[in-house]
């Protein structure tokens, strides 16, 4: 006779940079109300349905792997979220922004209206919670806003100014508007600037990362 293991797994959490910021703000925005799970670091190509020893061994190469500690940067954690979907689902939500890559001339504008594919039984849908868009280097855009979501958080993010430094900026909306910079000095001797924009479905967790190139036109 053996004892059943009825223990719970206990793990220690660390605050993210965002968590510290909101905790310091002290305005009640640091209130944990929901959770998500992810499988960051897992490479499913290691899953082997052809393992000669049977299904108990399909995940052998994954199940005992050591994991890295948590990162305090909220943009580097929970990248690939686990989703609750009906059994028998064969397609997972995908985010479609309409662009595999974006090339803009200096001063040119673009609106991105993402859609989520394979989500909630629809081939294509707009998520009601909107989309989070993060530009990795805010300097390459003279304006970067989200429209269509009117929550306080979305409005705060959209109105935040980040000037002069190579940092990211995040906005929320159902549509993301961006305009390339007109500042020549950013280019130096180069003829183009490159960065990425990451868009995440706030409901589905589906994400896409799109490279952006800004071509210099002014002399």
């Amino acid at each position: 006779m053996g004892y059943l293991n009825n223990g719970v797994v206990t793990v220690d959490a660390i605050l993210t940079k965002k968590g510290r910021e909101l905790l310091a703000r002290g305005d009640g925005s640091f209130k944990i109300t929901q959770f998500a799970l992810s499988d960051d670091e897992i490479d499913y190509t290691l899953y082997n349905p052809s393992h000669p020893s049977g299904s108990q061994y399909y995940g052998q190469a994954i199940e005992n792997m050591p994991l890295l500690e948590a990162f305090p940067d909220e943009t580097k954690s929970l990248k690939y979220k686990l989703a609750t979907l009906p059994r028998g689902t064969s397609k997972l939500p995908l985010l479609e922004a309409g662009y595999a890559s974006i090339v803009l001339k200096q001063g040119a504008s673009l609106a991105i209206t993402p859609q989520t594919l394979n989500y909630l039984g629809a081939t294509s849908t707009f998520e009601s919670g909107g989309y989070t868009a993060t530009i990795a280097d805010v300097r390459v855009l003279s304006s970067f806003t989200g429209v269509g979501i009117n929550t306080e958080e979305a409005e705060t993010l959209n109105s935040t100014q980040t000037i002069g430094t190579n940092v990211s900026k995040t906005v929320i909306g159902t549509s993301i508007n961006l305009r390339a910079t007109t500042v020549n000095t950013l280019f130096g001797t180069r003829t183009k600037l490159q960065t990425t924009i990451q868009i995440i479905g706030r409901d589905s967790g589906a994400r896409v990362t799109i490279p952006i190139t800004i071509n210099k036109v002014n002399n």
Binding site: V11, D12, D39, P49, G59, L78, T84, P93, S204
Partner: protein, 332 residues
């Protein structure tokens, strides 16, 4: 859906009392005491001496506690102004601790011997470094051996474990210090040698009685004290005794968050290695029996801001036949 809201009972706030040795590197019994000659020679040295765990030339040396001599009449120390009597370094120290501990300028430090209450002119203070005692000194953990040049050594302990009631002053709890055998073990409560104020990390010792018993070897009467001599001799008595035990206590508030993943939840993954370019599952066996490998938990607010992250040590397999219950601990 990737986010799941907590029920009310899923988030629990817990406050735990954590005790540990006071001294650096979790040393239980501090046996080496060092001064810094630069500090003792500076102006601050006229008020107090910092006591270190190693010599100042050794890496990672740290202040463990400070000692100071107070005289309620301002004797034994140079006057700030020779035309104003009674105002000296020693009166400043006495007044400072009196105000801090009792909250008024009228109450003096008193100690008892049986039914007799003494009001010594000289009081020796030990102020434990804040980083050492953290939130408060753990009552019942004090053991200090002090040895004079000729007198018998004194083994000082607090009476918090044997006292039937807790006494409070303005700065919090106060316990008597008697002769004893080890932490909490009072063997003779005839003479009260001092008081422990655990909530502010201060020990006050009756300088007059320690002097008269030659434990802190200061020659002459109270009027012959000098602050420098007092601090030097007090330090020497501690250094010769070579044993100081004390524990810290702090309250750690933790958020415990219970993560409950039901059998039908979180079985699919958006991980790009799990799907093809069109979103189809990479492995067809996972269509009817999907498996995911949980590695991280994210805690969010209503705006989907990631506030905290917890990582597992190894992946936790999740499918339609398994439920996961995780307890995430978040300390502030």
């Amino acid at each position: 859906m990737s986010y799941k809201r907590f029920d009310n009972e899923d988030v629990v706030v817990s406050a735990e009392s954590v005790t540990a040795p006071c001294w650096s590197n979790n040393v239980v019994n501090l046996q080496v005491f060092e001064l810094n000659s630069t500090q003792t020679a500076a102006t601050s040295g006229k008020y107090y001496y910092n006591v270190y765990n190693t010599g100042s030339e050794v890496a990672n040396t740290a202040i463990q506690f400070s000692i100071a001599h107070g005289n309620k009449l301002g004797l034994g120390a140079p006057l700030y102004d020779t035309s104003v009597t009674g105002k000296s370094y020693s009166s400043t120290v006495y007044g400072q601790f009196r105000t801090l501990i009792f909250g008024d300028e009228e109450t003096n430090f008193t100690f008892t011997s049986g039914n007799t209450t003494r009001t010594p002119e000289n009081v020796l203070f030990i102020s434990v470094e804040r980083a050492r005692y953290k939130e408060k000194i753990f009552p019942g953990s004090l053991y200090l051996k002090i040895t004079g040049s000729t007198g018998a050594p004194l083994h000082l302990v607090d009476n918090s474990l044997t006292s039937s009631t807790d006494t409070f002053v303005d700065s919090g709890r106060v316990y008597s210090i008697y002769s004893g055998s080890g932490p909490g073990g009072v063997t003779d409560s005839t003479v009260e040698y001092g008081k422990l104020f655990p909530d502010v990390g201060i020990i006050a010792l009756d300088g007059d009685i320690l002097s008269s018993s030659d434990v802190v070897a200061i020659n002459g009467t109270a009027s012959n004290w000098s602050t420098t001599v007092a601090n030097n001799q007090f330090f020497k008595a501690i250094d010769t005794g070579s044993s100081f035990k004390l524990r810290s206590e702090e309250t750690v508030s933790s958020n415990y968050v219970f993560i409950r993943a039901r059998n039908a939840e979180f079985n699919y993954s958006n991980n790009p290695s799990n799907i093809t370019g069109s979103g189809e599952l990479r492995h067809s066996v996972m269509i009817d029996n999907p498996q995911s490998y949980l590695t991280a938990v994210g805690l969010y607010n209503d705006n989907n801001d990631l506030l905290a992250v917890a990582k597992l040590s190894t992946p936790l397999i999740k499918d339609f036949t398994k439920e996961a219950l995780l307890r995430v601990k978040l300390d502030y």
